[in-house]
Subunit: 322 residues, 6 copies
């Protein structure tokens, strides 16, 4: 009877662990008996679980986003691991668990990443740019700490938005060492603000899981919402109109193509770079995630997010990584 | 010696009339003699004119947008009518001319059309919608009276923007008699505001001729600019946020396709109708303009604005026009 | 035991009503017992029904498009309402039912709409146009009374084709009040004939349900078929060739884009308007249908027919609808 | 003083030859002197010619499509050969010229090609197909003998349409030796009729030069016009409706893609083959024409008709051509 | 008890035949009993088969690509024929079977087709072209004898690649009788080599069934792989560089459009023809295959491989096939 | 009389300087007098120049790519600066000029950049990768020192190819500090080799000006040519086939989209990064070049190379550039 993680389970394992309920459904067998059909997750993966002969009146107990302790046995069912639940109970305060330990999350703590971003804001020398960014970030701190960068695409993990921003800032700093004419103030501000309105476009739980888009998110989208945030903030602090305009343009153009939501293409170099930083970070995240599940010398399945490409995991030794 | 309009001139005509200078250039002949090369316009068309043996030091007198009195003779030169200038002088106050009489303009007076639009605003019953529209229109009245709807496309005439709005409002009223569930308040507001930020996207002279796009116009475009206008005005008057959102969505979606500048397609019926009213009025304007120069039973040249179509002018009698 | 409509059924309801069989299938359970699996409809919706222990040799009785009287009980099965059939019999003449009351249909009677269309034909003053339209309509009256406008798209309801035509005619009349140069004769004729060959492109039952496309419909399509109808009719009545040509051109161009089936774009204003009337009526129909099932302040699911848009149902009061 | 062809002229040559006037314009020099500006052609090419000090009242004599005898001298003017005309006169009956010798034409006589096509019609065994084709060809014999296959594209030469049809027929016969299930009757008929309505789409002079598209050609296009021809002819002879339908479908689908004018793609093998025969013959014609002017081992300029490709003329010996 | 083929089975048939296992899976019923789920094929089609109460430890016996003798009974299950297996055993040497008789294959023997291709190679007169082709074909003979032309598309049958090449060669010979300027050496070589690297792009079993693409096939594709083959072979035999270049160009351009894998379009006539031969043969193969299952006078389902077209099987007699 | 550069000339300036002849043409005035029409360049720009009354027999002296000493006067002609040549002579050895000083070139010396690239090759630890790159670079050193990266696009300057490679290498090193899992050996090799075959695709003069594409360049393109170089080199040194394959894949996929010449998209992270480095460096080069000619606070003209965008030159101070 082990305290195993989902990713480690093998057919025949007995298990006694805590999991997070992602979905719960009361269903009926062909024999008209009701049972509970659960999707359980921890940071290592997810598994389907069945609690047979479950009487539906008690259902409200096992809701999505509830932590539960489960005893049961794993077995393979038509090619996938499944859990037969023998015993289940909702976790209590005494279990002293952090729900955050049960969802996929960025590899850095929210506090660390927030501090990193603040460090870059500190490097912005233009007072207006600094103040616009600083105020918007402060206003959205609570959501920023938890939000993923997307509902399903790249960085769809808890605090994924900050992780994306932080990596892009580091990369942006490097780029400006090569292309020395770039205005770092604009570039850092553009990176920090480019997706900030995702906090207004989507509703995410405190676990960093997006349940749905907001009405304003559907009717306008985070690009337009972000432009309005900058417009309002710049007006409030009385910023130079050109600065406000350039930041708005960077947000507007960062998807690059009209069919991806940018009616204008980048017209200043910093907007051009912002787009490429965004693409590179998204691609590297997705590729790393896919290749993590591929053997050396093998190809992945087709990946829808990557234009339906397969990826290949090279078997040659990386000798140059010291 | 006649006071002829440009559209009436024939080879051999002696002419003595007022014209507006649209362009002026000092050029040199093969014989190294300088002359003045002018483009003159009135409401009936435009003509090239030459003032031979013109000494350039006096050039500043004959600038674009200046009214001049010209005496000369018309003749055909390589298939086009041309004017040989014998005498020219700048018009003075005593000539008592209205420069507006010399540029193509909408077929109604600006004041009439402005009053018509105000009439529709008066029909808006929802107080917030009424106030947002009313305030934005008042704020832009001066430009609105003169602005064309475009630099080169449909309604690129003085007061063309109001003419476009007015016709769409009339059409919108008709549509809402057929599709009775439509919210007329939203529809009228959407029509009035859909292109209002063209006043901020383009710089037009008091003749309603667009010289260039503004920097903000280039970096953001009138759709984004219009959304910000609504956002700011709605905040100022404390309007219901949903109303502000729906108006912004109507502006955002009225070009319909991402590749034409609308990142979101219409998600409410009034936005859908707004798009079609805009298309119909633009197409009817362009077609009428092209067919005005085509003989019955003949085809026009290819018209770039109309997807490079030729138009055909039917020769069958319109018996049903009473 | 109530005579409930499908749209009203709730779990636990006992029901005794007439329904129309849309589909019927004899299936076998895991236990090798045969049962009858039915899809039943009335004008309020459709429901799956099971008749257990059904012996297949009697199947021919319960065919699609048969009216049946059913006694049974409703219950929810995996999120959807289902009907357990206790008793079933085919409806007889004594039941005195109109099968038309059991399928979704246009909100006006076929006779009323046909008369309306005839009214518009009466308004056509050009004799040739009048005669072409009049004869074609008369020739197709029988199908016209019942046909939907499509197999699955907009107006796919009994008499939907006439409903579409009638609404477009009313709208067309309004448009010609605004754009007064339009030739109403051509416009009305174009509206009436634009989809008339759908009666030759599809096979529809007397319930207005399309079972399939005809071979000619697949090999040529209703646009080409409609052009041939006009060509033949115009020849028979000896009409002015230009009139025949313009009507054919209107049919040919009304889908507007080559990739939607129109090799030529509209080259006369009436053809341009025809396209927009068609689009507006289709869009308004689809949007109204979708929004009928959406709560105020909520978004619909993505709608495939509307370029995969979601729609939004505004919660602001429509104060201007008197 | 030589009787040279245009393609042979070199700077300094004195020339005395017959040419065809393709275009004639009376122009005026900077010194206000009028002169005649001519475009002259023979089968080897075209050249610009000037007749200085020409008094315009005599202009009507030198009209397009007139054969003239010219004496003059050739010289290079800004990179192109030009002809200075010393003497010019209109050709008379005594000169005993065939105007057809002065325009580019198919390499076979019209009579030969017409007979060839009749030979293939003779091979059609199905009576209905035979009669439809036979009657349509006979009805259009006069135009068919002279018409090019296009205004500017492939086979834009006198009798080019028949040349295109004849080559495709020969090729079609070969194809049906490989893919033996093909219905040769349909295939031959499709080939002969696929572009037959070009005779109704365009106006061509008796020299096989297209001056313009007809109104019906612009409003409907030769595909629709051809379908109507078949529809009418099949009705007249009382042909099997399926045969008429298949022939119409072959015409409709032969451009293959909606954006090239075919709303339906080929749905029978014979229609599929028809498309490829058409493409192959067009491409071979265009390629041969372009490569005729390219040196071995060299590339041509970009060819707009061939998707802006350059072509390459191989320098390897064709040893396998016996 | 009959020795029936899969394509002949009807509900109720008792059967005792050999089949090839295409797929085998051990599954568990709702009652927790294991059974064997098989996909069996012969040259006439495929069928699902169940062996109930099968104990999994013996599974390794029934692997894909194994020939088995099966006794059982056919019945219809939810609209499809299914086989209930009573007895099954692996075929042995004494059964004296040729596994090749159980998979769909080209209608000619591999040896015949190989000899045919060699015949065409023999016709190539240019020594370098001859030697390049000859050597490459010899080097790939083993695979060539068995490989299909694709994993799922046209000619996805055993020896399908050679069948495709052979038919194209015959067609190519015909084409060069019509367009006599074509270099037959290049054309034959291009046909033979155009898909030769499919043998390196895919892994196929000795049954001519492709299991997967190779890593090199995924990362480069058969076009690039084929170019490298030619490059290497030409270098080895010291061929004229232009000949090598032209052959490489033909391979590179034979998909015609960049989006189908050809970065360059055909720039020599032989490359242009090669593309059309490839298209014609693929289309004729697919159409014939689809129409084989369609009744006269009926339409097929939509065929994904043919741009989602339906095909029509004409009911008119082919009188011209002698 | 000053030794001015072309970029400094103003109307009225007398000038006495060396220039490079880019184009020379002997033309004739309306008065039948011949003159020499020259295009002169130095590193600051280009200017049109006229030498009147020039007798053509001496023309061969003033050929393109010749350095000349010119005395003359500058004046504005129709909006552009023009040079009237009073005296001209070909430069001699005694003038001791370096023709390279007269064409636009990279801002670093060829030798410096070559050494930089060698430095990066030295950092490659995998022996096979190192050897492939090292040998290919050495083999193309002569051309590499001078070649531009394109005929007309980005980096179309002398030694532009190396400048592009060097900057990408620096940028690639930075990227691998952020995305630490990347294989630097592959990345550096991919950067160095990605455009190396431009040396085989184009013919460039020793001034780094491309005159034309080679035949092989037109028929195959630098991507295919580069793959063959790697294939051959890897074979010669007996490299690990996977290494050769991955390098070939990086070359093949670096244009990213099939329509830009890459039939395969990047399937390894290093190929993905290579594409973005290429794009960033191209865009930064083009943007910097365009903005160099734009005033602060102003927009550029539309730039064809940048999807027809205008660029904006910000007027806000770059305070963060230390």
């Amino acid at each position: 009877m082990e305290n195993k993680k989902i990713g480690q389970l093998q057919s025949g394992d007995m298990v006694q662990s805590f999991f997070l309920i992602k979905a719960a459904d009361c269903k009926i067998t062909n024999n008209k008996k009701s049972y509970l059909d659960l999707t359980l997750v921890d940071q290592t993966g997810e598994i389907n679980a069945k609690l047979w002969d479950y009487s539906p009146d008690s259902q409200p107990e096992y809701l999505p986003n509830t932590l539960v302790r489960v005893r049961g046995s794993a077995h393979e069912w038509q090619g996938k691991m499944q859990l037969r639940v023998d015993k289940i109970r909702v976790a209590t305060e005494e279990d002293d668990l952090d729900i955050g330990d049960f969802v996929p999350a960025a590899p850095y703590s929210p506090e660390f990443m927030y501090a990193e971003i603040e460090g870059y804001i500190h490097k912005i020398k233009n007072q207006d740019i600094h103040d616009i960014v600083s105020r918007i970030i402060a206003d959205h701190k609570e959501k920023l700490l938890l939000y993923p960068a997307a509902k399903q695409n790249h960085h769809a993990i808890r605090s994924g938005l900050m992780y994306h921003i932080m990596t892009m800032l580091r990369m942006g700093e490097k780029v400006s060492e090569i292309y020395v004419g770039l205005n770092k103030d604009l570039l850092f501000a553009g990176v920090i603000l480019h997706d900030i309105a995702k906090t207004a476009e989507m509703n995410a739980s405190e676990l960093g899981i997006v349940s749905e888009y907001t009405v304003e998110g559907e009717l306008l989208g985070h690009i337009i919402q972000g432009i309005k945030m900058i417009d309002q903030t710049a007006t409030q602090i009385g910023a130079d109109p050109e600065i406000s305009l350039l930041l708005q343009h960077m947000i507007l153009s960062h998807h690059y193509e009209p069919e991806y939501g940018s009616p204008k293409r980048p017209m200043i170099p910093e907007a051009e770079i912002l787009h490429h930083l965004d693409m590179i970070d998204a691609r590297m995240y997705d590729m790393q995630k896919v290749l993590g599940n591929v053997e050396e010398g093998k190809l992945s399945e087709k990946v829808w997010l990557l234009n339906n490409r397969k990826l290949y995991k090279s078997s040659i030794q990386n000798e140059n990584n010291g």
